[in-house]
């Protein structure tokens, strides 16, 4: 059963191919059926993940893939993100006139690549998964095609992404040249030898890997593509990228830097700490200046990459569950926020400036309350899931002695309250008459409700299950 770790990936990929066939023979008209199909395939993948959860560590395909606890949590986060993104996509696409069935096939293909990243145990699989998840995303970013912003987003993402991939390949090549290994656990064993000898090739290779994966995770100073791509891409895709792609990129960082280069932590801890500090400061700082919700969420996504990088440096026994839970909590809160944002777009166009949100909560208090909840979770206010997630990451970094980093994290968290709450204030307190009425969208409403429920109870549930052992 060597291929069992690949089961979720295979289900999503086969599903995507089936959807592509269905799209070829589908009668023109609403693509709601395709959305339902994609949802069922995602549910099937989630089921497979759940079945595999009870299995112990499984290695397969020449030790290139590995299923373990971490893989389970990462896969679950990615699949939840995919499911919610599909839920709030259909009406948005229909209203914007960009409803094409391929959308769901690409979404599932991207998710399949992300699931492969979650089980990667070899540098070549990391590369394959990164390309696999990136290509559908390049297309999806440009899916609102006649729109110049969307085309710009796709082109920018593609060119810079291809550039980052080159760094990744070169890093892998250098590590292979220095050690003759691509398997991550073999690499760790090689680094643990009593006398490893000259490792300069491995260090340079590791630095290049950090650049490439930092790009995908949107960490400063490799973050510059993020705001433009997030702003130009169709709003549901922005939500999907902020949640699921972030998870996959952090999965790659975990695999490469914990599993592979873990024994050399003293060497990469310094650069990663600098990156984490810069990412937290720049992400939260520049988010203060934004006037559009999507750009604000782009910088929010950068800022959270900083917290996750800090988690990477933490005490492993705390940091591993910490990073996993952080990804889940962050993904759900972000997707919930985008479920609200998706409803702000109508057939007449889409306005994501804070001004467009003014007074919206008066007409639809449920939306306003949900948005407030997601923003509180992104800040990390108890008792939302975001609070427990941040607490665990900060505790993990504190225990590992990264006190300055934790202080930066706490200070930037306080700063972040300003811009997260701005949209909430706009929704509740600005102008009595809203300029835009949110459009009815049962799918987005359902995903909003699910995210709100999860944000409220996930943290408490985690506590009850004993996930937090301080």
């Amino acid at each position: 059963m060597a291929w069992l770790p690949l089961l979720p990936t295979l289900i999503l990929t086969a599903g995507a191919l089936l959807l592509l066939l269905a799209e070829a023979f589908r009668r023109p008209g609403s693509a709601a059926g395709m959305a339902w199909g994609a949802l069922w395939i995602t549910a099937l993948g989630t089921g497979a993940t759940g079945v595999l959860a009870t299995w112990g560590p499984l290695e397969g395909i020449y030790r290139m893939v590995l299923w373990d606890r971490g893989a389970f949590w990462l896969s679950l986060t990615i699949l939840v993100g995919t499911g919610i993104a599909i839920l709030f996509s259909q009406r948005y696409l229909a209203d914007r006139g960009i409803e094409r069935g391929e959308y769901y096939a690409f979404l599932l293909l991207a998710a399949g690549g992300m699931l492969l990243m979650a089980v990667a145990a070899d540098l070549l699989v990391v590369f394959l998964a990164l390309e696999w998840l990136s290509f559908p995303l390049y297309i999806l970013a440009g899916f609102a095609r006649p729109q110049p912003e969307s085309e710009e987003a796709a082109l920018k993402y593609f060119l810079l992404g291809a550039f980052a991939s080159a760094f990744l390949v070169f890093g892998i090549a250098l590590i292979f040249a220095g050690t003759g290994l691509t398997n991550l656990s073999d690499l760790a064993a090689w680094l643990r030898r009593p006398d490893p000898g000259a490792q300069s090739l491995v260090w340079i290779g590791g630095a290049l890997l950090l650049v490439a994966l930092g790009f995908k995770a949107a960490a400063v100073p490799f973050h510059l593509w993020t705001p433009d791509v997030y702003e130009g891409a169709p709003t549901p895709i922005t939500g999907f990228m902020a949640a699921a792609t972030k998870t996959a990129a952090v999965a790659a960082l975990i695999r490469v830097f914990w599993t592979g280069l873990g024994p050399a932590m003293d060497l990469w801890a310094g650069p990663v700490a600098l990156m984490a500090a810069a990412t937290m400061l720049v992400g939260n700082g520049v988010a203060l200046l934004q006037s559009s919700f999507k750009r604000m969420m782009a910088y929010s996504s950068i800022a959270h990459a900083g917290y996750l990088l800090m988690g990477l440096l933490g005490e492993p026994s705390l940091a591993l569950p910490g990073v996993m839970f952080y990804l889940l909590a962050y993904s759900i809160a972000t997707l919930g926020a985008f479920a609200v944002a998706v409803r702000m777009a109508g057939p007449n166009g889409e306005d994501q400036s804070f001004g467009a949100y003014a007074g919206v909560a008066r007409g639809s208090p449920g939306m306003g309350a949900a948005m407030a909840l997601f923003m509180l979770s992104l800040i990390g206010v108890p008792p939302t899931a975001g609070f427990f997630a941040k607490l665990m990451l900060f505790a993990a970094a504190w225990q590992a002695g990264w006190i300055a980093l934790v202080l930066i994290g706490v200070i930037t968290t306080v700063i972040s309250a300003y811009f997260y709450l701005r949209v909430v204030v706009a929704m509740w307190m600005d102008r009595p008459e809203p300029r835009h009425l949110p459009r009815p969208d049962p799918g987005a409403r359902l995903s909003m409700a699910l995210s709100a429920f999860a944000t409220l109870f996930l943290g408490v549930l985690w506590l009850m299950l004993g996930g937090l052992s301080l």
């Binding site: 191919l17 066939l21 799209e23 070829a24």
Partner: protein, 123 residues
């Protein structure tokens, strides 16, 4: 890095040098040896025996990009068949199944492109 590894690359270095040498001689020798009697007709750019018309850099239909894409999908993938065909006997049934899956995925792409009208030139 031990010297032994570098020594293994000597044949490649030789190949590069020989290639550069032959290419260089082929470029330089005619310049020195060939007789030069230029005429107006000889100085014209040459294209399959015809006098070229118009500039060389023109716009051409974007449809050709689609053709190039389909070429990659259906023609370059053939490259994977050659090493597979050489090794399929020793790799047994698994290789056959794997190639079957590969072709199936390509077939889905083919059907998709067909149904979407990628093969219709006039549209």
């Amino acid at each position: 890095m031990p010297d032994g590894i570098l020594l293994e690359y000597v044949p490649i270095l030789t190949l590069i040098l020989v290639g550069l040498g032959i290419g260089g001689v082929a470029l330089i020798a005619p310049q020195l040896l060939a007789p030069k009697r230029p005429s107006r007709r000889k100085q014209l750019p040459y294209e399959s025996g015809m006098i070229p018309i118009g500039p060389a850099q023109r716009r051409f239909p974007v449809k050709f990009y689609l053709i190039a894409l389909l070429f990659i999908l259906f023609d370059i993938e053939i490259i994977f068949f050659y090493p597979w065909a050489l090794q399929v006997r020793s790799l047994k049934t698994l290789a056959l199944v794997e190639m079957g899956l590969f072709v199936l995925i390509l077939l889905i792409g083919y059907i998709y492109a067909w149904r979407k009208g990628a093969f219709e030139w006039e549209r």
